[in-house]
Amino acid sequence: MRIISSFLCPVLCVSLAAVAADEKPGVIPEKLAGLFAAQGKDGKPTITPEQRTYFDGLNDRLKALLIKTVEAEVITRPEHLGTILALGLRPQKMEILLQDNCILCHTDPEVQKPETLLTLSPAPGKTPSHLNLQDFVDDVHFLRGLSCAGCHGGDPGSDKLEHSFVKEWPSAGRDKDRGWILSFCARCHSDSTFMNRFNPALPTDQLAKYKDSPHGKFLLEARDARAPDCLSCHGVHGIRSAKNPLSKVYRKRVPETCGACHSDAKRMAGLTLSDGSPMPTNQLAEYRASVHGRALLERGDLGAPACNNCHGNHAAMPIGLSSVSQSCSLCHAGNASLFDGSKHKQAFEEHKWPQCAKCHGNHVIAKTHDSMLAAGQESLCNKCHQQYAKDNPECNATATYFYTSLAQMDQVWNEFGVTADRLAMKGLDVDPIHDKLNELADSLKQARSHIHSFSKNDFQRAADPGEKAVLGISRLVEEAKAEYRFRQLGLVTTIALMGLVMLALYVKLRRLER
């Protein structure tokens, strides 16, 4: 008994101590308790159970900060407290928010007018869209501790609740000439030492590139209010990393962001391209219908290019290219290299034709098909050569040769693919056929690429393995069919023999029972 009690006593003491510790949450002061207990006109508590649960889950430091805020009467109304808790911020963000008097004051609906109120439910037509509180706390700058004062100035820790702006913030005419925005953002984004503290991987040459771009010249030299600035693409509050799907510059959203201006005929009115032709407004529609647009926007393939992959981000075009028409080579390097080594390279340069775009188009790049090479009116080769190289019949003959070879291989690949599936359903081993079909598919892809060399020899070198594979497939399919015939014959023979045995048994049975 003594042993048991000597064992149980410490256990009991430890348990009681643990329970006592659990029951020692921070005492909620009267003011905060009053806010939690407040009821709306409908008799329901203003602070929802979810908001209360969120508060209960906060660590002691955050609870103390919130209590301090309430005690200092920065938060005095339950609706105001509800707005803060409803954000459900993780501790790091909540700490920033609770120490920022700018946000705390601008989220109080009793103090602020709709046009200065940061709110989760903006009043339609009254609250500007950039004052969405959720966007604000999701902003990439807020995440790194840069809040209102980072751009607008002032002391967020001061209790005086007064406004003071940084010197770069224009006191008036901010919307008239928006060129100031560039230098405003560049204060930090062009400062590599400063940026290194937050995101060392982020370049700091955006402003330099932008100044050199048509957009930059349009804004800074022509002083045209239609020209885009940083905020046009990145937004105001609620700026997110380009990797965030909600960002305006996330790859899938880039076409929509660019199209907001470039599809607007009114906005583009009077603008011209470098060749003097009017600025088109159908790029977005064409892009959406293109192979690239469908890959990115319909299939969600983030490897597919958006506007900025060819036209550049802040600069006019991607680094290292002298013309947008060369941007295809960034992805289609093999085809570009073959083209560069072909006779067409020189001819295109003489005519000052864009390289790939001449045959494939720029924004409306459709899926290629072998008939582009075929003789006839649809043939791309024919169309040009009738006009520019009438005296060289060899060119059309080469195109026809390409077409004939590709069409034959494609036909075999399709037909034998179906045959292989049928044979597989019959229980035959079609793995060797599939191996050969894969060889054929590889060769077909290579051969299609090698038409950009415009050389029969180069093309044939790529097509040779495919033509060998075709012979191999034909042989394997015949073997598989012969094996199936053998199975059927074997079955018929077996059944015939068994039938004879059964007949003999039946006759024997009848004799025995007679």
Binding site: K426, G427, D429, Q488, M498, G499, M502, L509, L512
Partner: protein, 463 residues
């Protein structure tokens, strides 16, 4: 030494050494009863055994190439079916024979049930047959995993997960079954051991007992045969007929194996090898077990996650165990058959069970599904379509029994059809419809009992 006079032939040689005369005499005089019903039911047991023998032979041949193991199981089956001469035929025959064996076994069991062949003194024959049926399902379940392909892997994961619902020892049982918390190579090894050693030993032993009972007691004569029925000599008349049927079965098996090598392609009856199992890959939707487990799979889906303080699968397991328990002790429940009197209630119970299983199986096959099959409207259409088919089948069964066999006992079939109507047509939840049908069936049975008791007390009373 026997002096029955088998002479100097090989029988005489054997008889002098092993005294086989009594055995020969037994075979010579053994008879199979001939009754008013069709003889075809007597051949089903033999047919099932034939398919089992095919399983043994093809299984042994497959065993010569099969290598259990995570890195070898799938590859060896692939090699067997693509490179080994006639390996494809062995696998195809093995798979087809497995399914045909279950079809023939189920038919054998239901025919025994309908003809009341389980009545005394053959109760233990029924029980051994019942255990043989369970072992056959075990063969199917364990063999399914052996190719170690994607479908088998996930179906086994889902299937074994059910044992967790067994009270108290569920988790332990799961560990034992899988050889760990998850389906791994350990599961494959123990399923292999089950499939090729443990189950065959148990099965062969039990078949021995089952056949011994049949031999000792003879085949069950028709119910109520007061005089000894006419007999057919077992040897050679019945045995040769058996052999002829076996040859027909073998022919069918070969034709199916050559022309439909991977099964008819319906869910639960398809054994194309497909892709190798990948334990790290996410489970894909629409994993379904073999067709003979589909009813239970569907029944599990009909149960809510929690009910009456129990988990849905636990309750489902309880209901299934109860039904299977009743099925096992039918010979002792059926008092009328014990008195050699017709027991239409138990026949009706058998038909009700068939309709119950049919509806669930059809539902599991998503008969009548629209795209997407899992949408609420599609599930309603599936229930309605399956209800139509089940009611159609039920009408045919009732019609035949009523008009041809003059049966008047339709409480269980009626309850099964009412259940289907309430759920499939009127849209009541499956369990609610089931409870209503069960309560009405209980009331119906109580009324029948009361009326019967009244008649006994007052045989000449007014109708």
């Amino acid at each position: 030494m026997s002096d029955s006079g088998h002479g100097q032939g090989w029988l005489g040689w054997l008889d002098r050494r092993y005294q086989i005369t009594p055995l020969i005499e037994f075979l010579r005089h053994k008879e199979v009863p001939k009754g008013p019903h069709s003889m075809v039911w007597y051949y089903l047991g033999g047919m099932t055994m034939f398919f089992f023998l095919v399983q043994v032979v093809t299984g042994v041949l497959l065993l010569m190439y099969y290598q259990p193991g995570e890195a070898t199981a799938y590859e060896s089956i692939r090699y067997l079916t693509t490179k080994v001469p006639f390996g494809w035929l062995m696998r195809s025959v093995h798979c087809w024979s497995a399914h045909l064996m279950i079809i023939s076994l189920v038919t054998h069991m239901f025919s025994t049930m309908m003809l009341k062949a389980y009545r005394p003194p053959r109760e233990l024959t029924w029980v051994t047959g019942y255990i043989l049926f369970a072992l056959t399902l075990g063969f199917g379940f364990s063999g399914y995993l052996l190719p170690w392909n994607k479908l088998a892997f996930f179906a086994t994961s889902v299937g074994t997960d059910l044992v967790k619902s067994v009270p108290l020892i569920g988790n332990w049982l799961l560990q034992v079954l899988r050889g760990g918390p998850d389906v791994t190579a350990n599961t494959l090894y123990r399923f292999f051991a089950l499939h090729v050693v443990i189950l065959p030993l148990a099965f062969v032993s039990l078949i021995g007992v089952h056949l011994l009972f049949v031999q000792r007691q003879g085949m069950a004569p028709p119910l109520g045969a007061k005089v000894a029925p006419r007999g057919m000599r077992f040897f050679p008349s019945f045995a040769l007929r058996d052999l002829l049927l076996w040859l027909v079965c073998f022919m069918v098996l070969l034709v199916l194996a050559v022309f439909v090598p991977y099964g008819p392609g319906i869910p639960g009856m398809d054994w194309e090898l497909g892709q190798k199992a990948d334990p790290l890959a996410p489970a894909f939707p629409g994993i379904k077990p073999e067709w003979y487990f589909l009813w239970e799979y569907q029944l599990l889906k009909e149960f809510p996650p929690h009910l009456f303080g129990l988990e849905g699968p636990q309750l489902c397991l309880l209901v299934v165990s109860l039904l299977l328990g009743i099925w096992a002790i039918i010979p002792w429940l059926d008092r009328q058959a014990q008195r050699e009197q017709p027991s239409p209630g138990f026949s009706d119970f058998g038909w009700g069970a068939i309709l119950f299983l049919t509806f669930l199986t059809l539902k599991a096959w998503d008969i009548g599904a629209m795209e997407p099959a899992t949408s609420g409207s599609s599930l309603k259409v599936i229930s309605r379509t399956c209800a139509w088919w089940t009611i159609g089948a039920g009408a045919v069964i009732i019609g035949i029994r009523w008009l041809l066999h003059r049966h008047r006992w339709f409480v269980f079939t009626g309850a099964a059809l009412l259940h289907v109507v309430l759920h499939g047509w009127l849209g009541l939840p499956y369990l609610v419809a089931g409870v209503i049908a069960a309560v009405l069936a209980a009331v119906g049975i109580a009324m029948i009992f009361l009326r019967t008791a009244e008649r006994r007390v007052n045989p000449g009373g007014s109708r």
